[in-house]
């Protein structure tokens, strides 16, 4: 009977299924943001000059730094996965730690960027926003909505990676069972990918 249970536990673990599930979940996330990209492109067509003028208000420098930080973090999370596959627990911990640090840097940058706007009275529902013309109004609404939703995804990704961090520490996540970290890394790449689209749409395109 106990042997049967052991077989049973083996059967219920299916890493392929977990990864397939994560990929499907990533599809839904892409479609979630896809709806926003659609709305963005429609309004951009309609109010292209206003969108152009508004995008000049954003700091390309901060945006570029954040892009580099996120790309770098995607690399480190992939390196942590390789480390755990090679059973190098210490390196894996370091790389997950660096990834989390990058995520924090991204959020701090975002905080200052948003803070600057809010300091000038530019935030959804503010008096200044009500005075803007339609195109500018929509641009900044979309800016806050899209980057806000993305930041929320960064936080979700961080929580996932923190869970991985503790599991690596307690050796529940090891070179035989690392699908959780694999999925966490997949999710982190998704968060990165969405930013790769957001950055040119919001900051560069003019």
């Amino acid at each position: 009977m106990s042997e049967h249970n052991a077989i049973h536990v083996e059967e219920h673990r299916d890493d392929e299924a977990s990864k397939l599930g994560m990929w499907l979940f990533i599809f839904t996330e892409l479609l979630l943001f896809g709806g926003l990209f659609l709305v963005y492109s429609i309004f951009r067509m309609q109010y292209h000059t206003a969108f152009h003028e508004s995008s000049l208000e954003l700091s390309v420098t901060i945006g570029a730094i954040n892009t580099i930080v996120l790309l770098f973090s995607s690399m480190t999370v992939a390196m942590s996965l390789t480390a755990i596959q090679k059973n190098d627990q210490k390196r894996a911990l370091i790389f997950i730690g660096i990834t989390l640090f990058c995520a924090a840097v991204f959020l701090v940058n975002k905080y200052f960027e948003w803070g600057g706007k809010i300091h000038h009275g530019l935030y959804p529902g503010s008096e200044l926003m009500a005075l803007l013309d339609r195109g500018h109004h929509l641009y900044f609404s979309l800016y806050f909505f899209m980057t806000g939703l993305h930041a929320l995804h960064i936080i979700i990704g961080m929580i996932l990676l923190i869970v991985c961090l503790f599991k690596v520490k307690s050796k529940n996540l090891n070179n035989k069972d690392y699908v959780l970290l694999e999925n966490g890394a997949l999710y982190w790449h998704l968060v990165d990918l969405i930013w790769i689209f957001l950055f040119p749409l919001m900051y560069l395109l003019s």
Binding site: H4, E11, D14, E16, A17, L20, G21, L24, F25, F27, T28, E29, L31, L32, F33, G34, G35, L36, L38, V39, I42, F43, Q46, Y47, P124, G125, M129, A130, D133, R134, G135, H137, L138, S141, F145, L149
Partner: protein, 536 residues
């Protein structure tokens, strides 16, 4: 059960003792069969709340002018009726109840791929449902935008729209997770020897449905989030005064909500495809055509949303294009109907309640489907848009189609779920009452719809009264039939005769199991047939 020679002692899933006891044993259950039952109990509860609301509208419409409620109350009642019935009853309906219970069994699996995720999706389904009901009771008053939440009215009305949309968002999340679980289950959990093309057709339809749930629901998710943000921060995505576009909301809404119609209908078609071969003792006609048509409906169904918006202001090109696509999506549905009917040809038909419900389904679905073509044609659509004709059409599809398929499924699978049988005679009587009540309730609405009775109005000119009264009488008859049906089913499940393993002489895997399956369904590796419907 006499031939249970397996090493593991057989225990019915209903008697299985787990870590938890009493109510907690249900709430914490990860067994797909128990989760299926949990969905069924909650969905039936919401269904009867929705029925009561529908009946209230029918009473209000007995006479012109104010009868039992104020116009604003009426707006709240039809909105809640819509939200309950769409998001909490028909969208999860068949896939979450019978899909959960029978998908793993039909493909020879012990459970779905992610049992805990499955439990989690039921939990958030309940959270979303509580939020939806709460939106009616909070102090700003019930939402009055209709279940469609059309902007800009929904962004400006003072009622609890935020709560209701947040509820729809949460319910959508539950739907996504169920879909995700089913796709992975079909890919990863099929028993050895079970390929895609010897899989029974109910799993096929669930697989197609799951893709729609997965790919369409995020779009409504983001749309509802935008609507909530618009209400909270005065953002103006959809408000023309702030530069937004109300048509954009309609587009985004229907990009989800039209495919959602197929989330309701595809599993219903799948159930009928299981029932008809069993009661005709005949191989399903055109197995591959039925399987592929499920995918075709799912695929083309994504491209037809514009037919809800012919009068909203679209270009002529867009209108005829959406009209063309709408006619194309009718083709795979018709293929299924032809195949069901051809399956009956030269079969040895056994007229039992599940089969009668399946026939009723086909009859009502044909009426609903052909009136759908009238609505898909631009010229007729602009005449009857937003009239009672549309109400009649979608009730024929959703209630006559999905609802009756749900009843067919309960009558078909109840002996496998509870190991007991209901009374056939009462089931047949209830079916006749339901059939008469249903047609009396909705058919007059086609006629007054063509004559110009708008939908969602609580008042009407006196000329419509005879039809409205007829329709209300039909409503009461239908409710009597439903109560009789549920009474018979509950009595059967609790104290009916003990059912044999295979009461209908079915050929799919569930009928090879004991009358109530064990916790892990297959204590021995199931033998997979090359043809799931090998009757002749």
């Amino acid at each position: 059960m006499s031939n249970s020679t397996e090493k593991i002692e057989y225990v019915s899933y209903l008697d299985h003792k787990g870590k938890y006891k009493g109510l907690m044993a249900w709430i914490m259950a990860t067994d797909h069969k128990k989760i299926g039952l949990l969905y069924m109990y909650s969905i039936m509860t919401f269904f009867f709340i929705g029925v009561i609301l529908g009946l209230m509208m029918k009473v209000e419409l007995l006479a012109p002018g104010e009868t039992i409620m104020k116009a604003q109350t009426y707006n709240g009642v039809f909105t809640l009726h819509g939200i309950l019935m769409i998001f909490m009853v028909v969208i999860p309906g068949l896939s979450a109840t019978f899909g959960n219970f029978f998908l793993p069994i039909l493909i020879g699996a012990k459970d779905v791929s992610f049992p805990k995720l499955n439990r989690f999706s039921w939990w958030i389904f309940i959270v979303g449902s509580i939020m939806a009901v709460a939106s009616q009771l909070l102090k700003d008053g019930p939402p009055d935008s209709g279940w469609t939440f059309y902007a800009p009215y929904s962004t400006t009305t003072g009622t609890n729209v935020i709560m209701a949309t947040a509820a729809a968002f949460v319910l959508g999340f539950s739907s996504i997770l169920t879909g995700l679980n089913f796709i992975v289950t079909v890919h990863q959990m099929r028993a050895p020897g079970m390929r895609f093309f010897n899989m029974p057709l109910f799993p096929w339809s669930l697989y197609a449905t799951a893709w729609i749930q997965l790919l369409a629901t995020p779009v409504i998710g983001i749309t509802l989030l935008m609507l909530i943000a618009e209400r909270l921060f005065n953002i103006g995505f959809f408000d023309p005064n702030l530069g937004g576009d109300p048509l954009l909301f309609q587009h985004l809404f229907w990009i989800y909500s039209h495919p959602a119609v197929y989330v309701m209908m595809l599993p219903a078609m799948g159930v009928i495809t299981e029932i008809i071969p069993t009661f005709c003792q005949r191989q399903i006609y055109g197995y591959k055509a039925v399987a592929i048509s499920s995918l075709a409906i799912a695929g083309v169904g994504f491209l037809v949303w514009g037919h809800h918006m012919y009068t909203s202001g679209m270009s002529d090109e867009a209108r005829w294009f959406f009209s063309l696509l709408t006619f194309i999506v009718a083709v795979p549905s018709a293929i299924k109907v032809f195949n069901w009917i051809t399956t009956m040809y030269k079969g040895s038909i056994d007229v039992k309640p599940p089969f009668l419900y399946a026939l009723t389904f086909i009859f009502l679905f044909i009426i609903g489907g052909t009136t759908g073509l009238l609505l898909g044609a631009v010229a007729t659509n602009v005449q009857v848009h937003d009239t009672a004709f549309v109400v009649a059409h979608f009730h024929y599809i959703i209630f006559g189609g999905m609802g009756f398929a749900f009843f067919a499924a309960i009558h078909y699978w109840l002996p496998k779920m509870y190991g007991r049988m209901y009374n056939f005679k009462i089931a047949n009587i209830a079916l006749v009452i339901n059939f008469i009540g249903f047609n009396l309730l909705y058919f007059p609405q086609f006629i007054i719809g063509i004559q110009g009775m708008p939908r969602r109005y609580f008042d009407y000119p006196a000329q419509f009264q005879p039809a409205q009264v007829l329709s209300s009488i039909g409503g009461f008859i239908l409710v009597i039939g439903l109560i009789l049906m549920v009474y018979n089913l509950v009595k059967g499940a609790r104290s009916g005769e003990i059912a044999p393993e295979n009461p209908w002489n079915g050929s799919t895997l569930e009928w090879t199991l004991p009358a109530t399956p064990s916790l892990e369904n297959f204590d021995e590796e199931p033998i997979i047939k090359e043809n799931p419907y090998d009757y002749k």
